[in-house]
């Protein structure tokens, strides 16, 4: 029983990080119909910028406490990633807005390579150990089930940001403009919505979330590396598709489900299959679930058919 509970805790923590990253994919897809493959690499930049900022702060302002240092590093990295997200949209995607859909997709892959290579030149090829400013000492919540303060922070921060984003999209002027743009660019712009600004804002918000996710990812695992964005990016993309790409609630649900499926799959697949499969099928298991969901619900768990674009 405690093993199962532990696996659920593991799954929720990983899943909430996937969910946060998946939001970035799904927002951009919802508005542009573009899969922004550079999103995982924005996460990587976020983690490495925070790492650099924290290192500098530790040298020049050692009197700052642990948590303020982390918050300062996080803020700097969020700002840098917002600028980065805007720059990517402005230079790589905006000019291709009316091009065939394949063109921006290829550009996105190109941006991903570009970011990785630049990061490799700046930060080198080595793994960096990420300063552990929040305690990773395990707390025994229930006998036999452990959770660390970092993991608790991840759960709380992700939940807060997700709620904030939903409120932003559904209750504010900007959110209304975003929904309008998602439904139809041209009509939205005829109604006086500056769609370029709205799309830029989407990228900026998505990149900020990626930066937060990057810092959480690195704080949790204690490492940062120029290629670290690839795998979480891929998983989060899967989560977004699982939940129904373009749908905010779907991204969150997809992230959590994927996290849980991976964790429980990795832990029990051998017992469930009577030793026929083992944990090397952990990822495959997750993709089987994805396949099955897409067969019965082609638009994902919460995906609904949105109005056709002109």
């Amino acid at each position: 029983m405690e093993t199962l509970l532990q696996q659920i805790v593991n799954g929720l923590v990983v899943g909430s990080m996937y969910a946060l990253i998946a939001l970035g994919y799904t927002m951009v897809y919802g508005i542009l119909g573009l899969i922004n493959f550079a999103h995982g690499d924005v996460l990587m930049v976020g983690a490495l910028v925070a790492l650099e900022a924290i290192r500098l702060l530790q040298i020049h302002a050692p009197e700052l406490g642990l948590v303020p240092t982390l918050l300062a590093g996080l803020s700097i990295s969020v700002v840098v990633c917002m600028i980065l997200g805007y720059t990517i949209e402005r230079t790589a995607y905006r000019r291709l807005r009316n091009a065939p859909r394949l063109a921006p997709l290829i550009t996105a892959i190109g941006v991903s390579f570009l970011l990785q290579t630049i990061a490799m030149i700046i930060w080198g090829r080595n793994y960096h150990s990420f300063p552990q400013l929040l305690s990773t000492a395990p707390l025994e919540a229930i006998p036999g089930v452990f959770i660390t303060p970092v993991q608790i922070t991840i759960l709380v921060v992700s939940a807060t940001l997700m709620v904030a984003l939903v409120v932003l999209v559904n209750k504010t002027r900007l959110g209304r403009a975003m929904r309008a743009t998602a439904e139809n660019h041209k009509v939205a712009s005829l109604m006086g919505v500056d769609t370029n600004k709205i799309i830029a804002a989407t990228f900026i918000i998505g990149s900020a979330l990626a930066a937060v996710a990057g810092v959480m990812f690195s704080s949790n695992y204690g490492t940062a590396h120029y290629a670290m964005g690839f795998l979480p990016g891929l998983k989060a993309f899967t989560a977004a598709v699982l939940g129904g790409i373009g749908n905010l609630g779907g991204a969150m649900l997809g992230g959590l489900v994927l996290g849980l499926v991976e964790s429980i799959g990795g832990g029990y697949i051998e017992d469930l299959s009577f030793g026929f499969f083992n944990s090397s099928y952990q990822d495959i298991f997750a993709f089987i679930i994805l396949g099955v969901v897409l067969i019965f619900r082609p638009t994902g768990l919460l995906g609904e058919r949105v109005a056709d674009r002109a």
Partner: protein
């Protein structure tokens, strides 16, 4: 008449200049990007240092002074890329190849080198299969996984505890080593309570570690690289698992200590084929030269890459030719004092007397146990 004499003289000068500087290209290949790039660069630098030193000393083959050049390529630790790179080496006419790092890359590439007639010396691939394919000019300067797995399995079962959990990263290296560990544990009276798998790109191991925790092992053997080993140690601590931890050469680095932070303790062990750098006959001196040239620390493989490059040059010297067809036969017969000890190969092409050393984490670094 005068002009033709001048022309002759110029031609002659030109010819002698070519003679003075015949360029011999050697390939160095390892992952220079991706998660093992730091280890790959270590290999490239080892080769570079060896060839630069030979160039400085001056080597004459067949009456001509030769200049060695490194053609460095990136295989991204990927078998497919490795074969592409191998073909590029063959096409470029390199005279020998030092590489690859990963067994999964070395094995498919070795076939292409064999067909292209180019000798290959791997400084890092430890999977036994590499030298069991019957290729005449496939060598390695590092002990193979049969020797290493035996060392890990025996040490784990006899000194650390009887109940062993084995995790491997599903690479040719990780899997090959884990299989040998599995056998050696059983041969030494231990039992393997579970075998789990991850990937060389993963960072989260909580699911498999939670599963392992339920089996309550005395020892966790991790057969993979340092970049995963560091976070894994953290997560072992995080789940409150009280087992010893032992890993092979891929995790036996300074890097894993940095990455594991406060989660590494005296319960962590690792093994290295060969001897520790400061116990290698030429280790201290090599370290100083390496640091001076590259302003970087030796990770693991630089001395093996250095000796692999030296073995090729020594064989060329013995054959008095840089022609692979001529010097390949001499590679199997080299016998010279290298950084890692005496460099000599057995009939298969494995390094002779491949020793394995067990280390324990003590006071901030790996200290040899045996």
């Amino acid at each position: 008449m005068k002009y033709s004499l001048v022309a002759l003289a110029v031609l002659g000068l030109g010819a002698s200049a070519v003679q003075a500087q015949e360029v011999v290209k050697l390939g160095a290949v390892a992952p220079l990007t991706g998660t093992q790039a730091h280890l790959g660069k270590d290999i490239e630098n080892g080769v570079r240092l060896a060839l630069e030193e030979y160039n400085a000393k001056g080597v004459t083959l067949g009456g001509k002074k030769v200049k060695f050049e490194v053609m460095a390529e990136d295989d991204a630790a990927d078998p497919k890329t490795a074969t592409t790179v191998a073909q590029r080496f063959v096409d470029a006419g390199v005279k020998g190849v030092i590489g690859h790092l990963n067994s999964g890359a070395s094995i498919p590439a070795s076939r292409i080198y064999n067909e292209g007639g180019i000798p290959q010396v791997s400084p890092a691939s430890t999977n036994p299969k590499l030298t069991q394919q019957g290729f005449k000019a496939t060598f390695r300067t590092i002990a193979n996984d049969v020797q290493q797995g035996l060392g890990i399995g025996k040490f784990a079962a006899t000194s650390l505890g009887k109940k062993v959990a084995v995790i491997d990263d599903r690479t040719a290296y990780g899997q090959g080593l884990a299989d040998e560990v599995d056998k050696a544990v059983k041969a030494n009276g231990g039992s393997v309570v579970t075998r789990e798998f991850t990937s060389d790109k993963a960072t989260d191991f909580l699911a498999i570690l939670t599963r392992i925790k339920a089996k309550n092992p005395d020892v966790i053997v991790y057969s993979g690289m340092d970049a995963q080993g560091g976070p894994m140690l953290k997560q072992i601590k995080q789940l409150g698992i009280n087992a010893k931890f032992i890993t092979g050469d891929g995790g036996c680095t300074g890097e894993i200590i940095k990455l594991a932070g406060d989660a590494i303790g005296p319960n962590a062990y690792c093994t290295q084929p060969g001897l520790p750098l400061d116990k290698m006959p030429g280790g201290k001196d090599f370290n100083a030269r390496f640091k001076k040239r590259f302003n970087a620390d030796v990770q693991i493989y630089a001395p093996y890459a250095y000796d692999a490059a030296s073995a090729i040059v020594e064989a060329m010297k013995a054959a008095n030719s840089s022609d692979p067809g001529k010097y390949a036969a001499h590679l199997g017969k080299v016998n010279f004092p290298g950084v890692i000890g005496t460099v000599a190969f057995d009939a298969r092409g494995d390094i002779k007397d491949g020793a394995v050393t067990v280390y324990q984490f003590k006071a901030g670094k790996w200290e040899p146990v045996q």
